[in-house]
Symmetry: C2
Subunit: 189 residues, 2 copies
């Protein structure tokens, strides 16, 4: 429960924002199909009907969440020279709810349903791949950006799908290191 006890103040704006936040957190952790409007409403402490009322449909809510994630700024902010190690460590060591890569995680979970994938397909190029490719820069920024993004998503999936990596701390450390080197290599040229 993200809300305090007692009846929620009658404030449409705040309620809408709270629902959007709760939805984002849900879509980061669970697949599109597994997320129910009831759960989201429950997180905020309101009724499921309000979610439909404010966002229309589940699909529109999902699209609003995707929109609200910014243009992958999470990846591109920070020192470029440490990009590889920083991102690798986030993916491998950071618990899901602390990750800075929220946009990527949502994209990844959208695999679950054709509906969600359509939404992501409409947005991924302009909202993510484009800016990232530009940030990576010539030569072949688009190619190198796709490789880096794919690698990051794949390692995130790999963690989720097997419930951790099944490696000891030392191995994880070496894995993060090596992943960081590959990523850095990709964005350096």
């Amino acid at each position: 429960m993200l809300c305090s006890d007692g009846p929620r103040p009658r404030n449409a704006g705040a309620t809408r924002a709270a629902i959007l936040d709760a939805a984002r957190e849900r879509f980061i952790r669970e697949s599109y199909d597994d997320v129910g409007l009831r759960s989201i409403a429950g997180d905020v402490g309101v009724d499921a009907a309000l979610v439909s009322r404010y966002f229309g449909s589940k699909e529109e809510l999902f699209e609003t969440v995707v929109d609200s994630c910014g243009k992958g700024g999470e990846l591109m902010s920070g020192d470029r020279a440490t990009f590889g190690q920083r991102v690798a460590r986030d993916v491998i060591f950071e618990p899901r709810n602390e990750t800075k890569l929220k946009g990527l995680m949502i994209m990844l979970r959208s695999m679950s349903s054709t509906k969600a994938m359509e939404v992501v397909q409409r947005n991924a190029d302009t909202r993510f791949h484009g800016p990232f490719a530009e940030w990576v820069g010539a030569p072949d920024g688009a190619v190198r950006a796709r490789l880096a993004a794919g690698f990051i998503m794949g390692m995130a999936i790999s963690r989720d799908v097997t419930g951790g990596y099944g490696l000891n701390a030392d191995e994880c450390e070496r894995m993060a290191n090596r992943m960081g080197i590959i990523l850095q290599d990709l964005i350096d040229g």
Copy 2:
């Protein structure tokens, strides 16, 4: 329809096998939730009730499919010296229905549902990561295998999620090349 016209011969074994094949193809292309028992039955030309009858539940059917995929042999068969380029080209250029990486694709699609992910979590280590790590070999086979598998799945997702890579033929060629080099590097040491 995978069947010829006319009434299906009354042969439990053949029908069961046909259902299993159809299910595998479905689970490779669509998410766990999107695959319906009715669609699978339709592919074979039988009634949905038979699917339940032969495999118990959807979850058990999925587990049987995962079992039937072999221990990632698709990845490890073939010349080790060309592993990187071979796999990279499969992921980037091969249409989904022709891919040799069926086991990995199913693992990837299981992200859609917690149920499917539990099944994969129970099987992934012994049926895939273990043999692959051994094939990669010392030093640190487990680490390098995880990185390679993650990279491969990530690039596969990346293609699906954006409906192709949005790159021209030359760029795809360069991307495949570079991906191949990274993969080869990973398994070479």
